[in-house]
Amino acid sequence: MTAITSTTRLRVNPIACKAHGVCIEMLPELIGRDPWGYPVVSEQPVPDRLLALAKRTVEACPTLALLLTDSTAGRR
């Protein structure tokens, strides 16, 4: 993982995601719920004040499906 900056965004690996919904509970500011319980993540950069919480949310995902990506690097 590259350094977390203001260009850091959340991303879901939709193959790994099994709709446990942990992320939706932990980070409702940036993650909504679709009609089937899967997370809909904001496409905006994660604001600095939420970065620490976003990191904890990523770590809490039971299937490791939630990622923080540095969009400028274009890779995981």
């Binding site: 690996n13 939709p14 193959i15 790994a16 995601c17 099994k18 709709a19 679709d34 009609p35 089937w36 319980g37 899967y38 809909v40 274009g74 890779r75 995981r76």
Partner: protein, 453 residues
């Protein structure tokens, strides 16, 4: 057919091209100088007489020619081929200096779209052009391994390629070491990351990206995945150069392209056209419309509907069709008769696409059947809730899979609701139209047709 090298682009009488399943394949009426890919003989000796031998250029020369030609991918994405090749070639150089193994080339000849026959036609009519292109591209990107991916049940194509490879071995023609990879006939199995997983010994299912194949593909190595038609054009660019390639087509969509034209036309089939002709000229190439048509599906099941008048004036290039609200896709065009029910036609395809989901991503697993069901309810009995439901659900499906499968399906459904808005109103107010009972126009693999309800 005997041709001296100097006269290889001379006008030819219209020729019958080998037909793929489900399509009578005819020769185009476009000027014969546009018959670059399909104009020559299928056997090796005739191929070399017609096109001349493949020059023995180094990687840099081939790369430079492809980049300057402006060739874009003919598999559907229309991405600049030279840029993709350059990325893999750069990676190959870096790996050589790090003493790592070479890159990989994957030639995609699977033709997953049910309405397309152009890749099969090319591979049976001009297998040596594809093998020349594979050889040139493999050299350009420093590929050590080459896989030619074909549908596992497409025996005619596999045989044509095997025969061509045997011929080349016998004649000691320069050829990359090609391994034929058999791919299951499932819609998403020929997606580029599916092919990589399959070659690596896994299931033919899309994987999460990034990394993109050009970064990390087969065996973890940078991998160039190109459609077989793209590679055939590369073979000709390597021979004749970028200026020759740009002599037909438009400045931002140069060259020719293979298209499959079906539906209500007099001579359905595969044609090679100069990019930039109008939709009207495309239909004329296929013998003109057999009966009044209301719309054309442009870009296949990843594309969109265009009303007849709009299609007539549209230029047939990827950027022009995108601007018109449709797509070039893999060059698929289906003319819908005026008497057909566009909503019922689209609902059948929506159901097919839902069934073709790889079943890996929640929004695709749940969303595509829900959208198909709503569209079916609208077409079959004028269900009043359907249009609003589809509109509200679409944002939860589009762009939310690991691959582009849900994006294509939602685009097709959305285009049906917008282009056939008057039909939607008629269904809501007067129930289904008589067109819903007519024989289907949009082709689907036989096994799936029975599922329609």
């Amino acid at each position: 057919m005997t041709q001296a090298n100097s006269t290889r682009w001379e006008p030819q009488a219209a020729r019958q091209y080998g037909a793929g399943p489900g399509a009578d394949v005819n020769a185009g009426q476009a000027t014969e100088s546009d018959q670059r890919l399909l104009g020559g003989p299928a056997d090796l000796a005739g191929h070399v007489r017609w096109h001349g031998p493949l020059p023995d250029y180094d990687a840099a020369t081939i790369l430079d020619a492809v980049e300057r030609s402006g060739l874009t991918g003919r598999g559907g994405a229309a991405f600049p081929t030279g840029r993709k090749m350059r990325a893999v070639a750069d990676a190959a150089r870096a790996r050589r200096s790090a003493r790592q193994r070479g890159t990989v080339l994957v030639a995609n000849g699977c033709e997953g779209e049910p309405a397309s026959a152009k890749d099969r036609t090319l591979l049976t009519r001009a297998p040596h052009l594809v093998l020349d292109g594979i050889t040139a591209a493999a050299r350009a990107v420093g590929a050590e391994r080459v896989h030619l991916c074909l549908h596992e049940n497409d025996d005619a194509t596999i045989q044509a390629v095997r025969r061509a490879l045997d011929e080349r071995r016998g004649a000691r023609a320069q050829t990359a070491d090609v391994e034929i990879t058999r791919v299951p006939e499932r819609y998403v199995a020929s997606e580029e990351t599916s092919l990589i997983q399959l070659i690596d010994g896994g299931p033919a299912l899309p994987r999460f990206t990034p990394p993109r194949p050009f970064e990390r593909g087969v065996d973890g190595r940078p991998t160039l995945v190109d459609n077989v038609e793209t590679l055939a054009h590369t073979a000709l660019i390597a021979r004749h150069g970028p200026a020759w390639f740009r002599a037909t087509g438009t400045p931002n969509a140069p060259g020719t392209a293979l298209v499959t034209v079906t539906g209500a036309v007099n001579r359905p089939g595969v044609y090679e056209i100069a990019l930039g002709i109008t939709g009207a000229e495309l239909l004329a190439t296929a013998g003109g419309s057999r009966q009044p048509i209301q719309a054309v599906l442009a870009g296949g099941y990843f594309g969109a509907w265009l009303p007849e008048q709009r299609f007539h004036s549209a230029r047939i290039t990827a950027p022009d069709l995108l601007a018109a609200g449709a797509a070039m896709g893999a060059g698929i065009f289906v003319a819908l008769p005026g008497e057909s029910c566009a909503l019922a036609e689209t609902a059948r395809v929506a159901r097919y696409l839902a069934e073709q989901s790889a079943g890996q991503c929640g929004p695709c697993i749940n969303g595509l059947p829900a959208l198909a069901q709503a569209l079916e309810a609208l077409a079959a009995r004028g269900d009043r809730r359907a249009p609003e439901y589809i509109k509200n659900l679409t944002p939860y499906v589009a762009g939310r899979g690991a691959c582009r499968h849900p994006d294509g399906a939602t685009r097709l459904i959305a285009s049906a609701l917008s282009v056939f808005a008057a039909d939607v109103r008629t269904h809501l107010h007067r129930g289904p139209c008589t067109g819903a009972r007519r024989a289907p126009i949009l082709p689907l693999p036989a096994a799936t047709v029975g599922v329609y309800r």
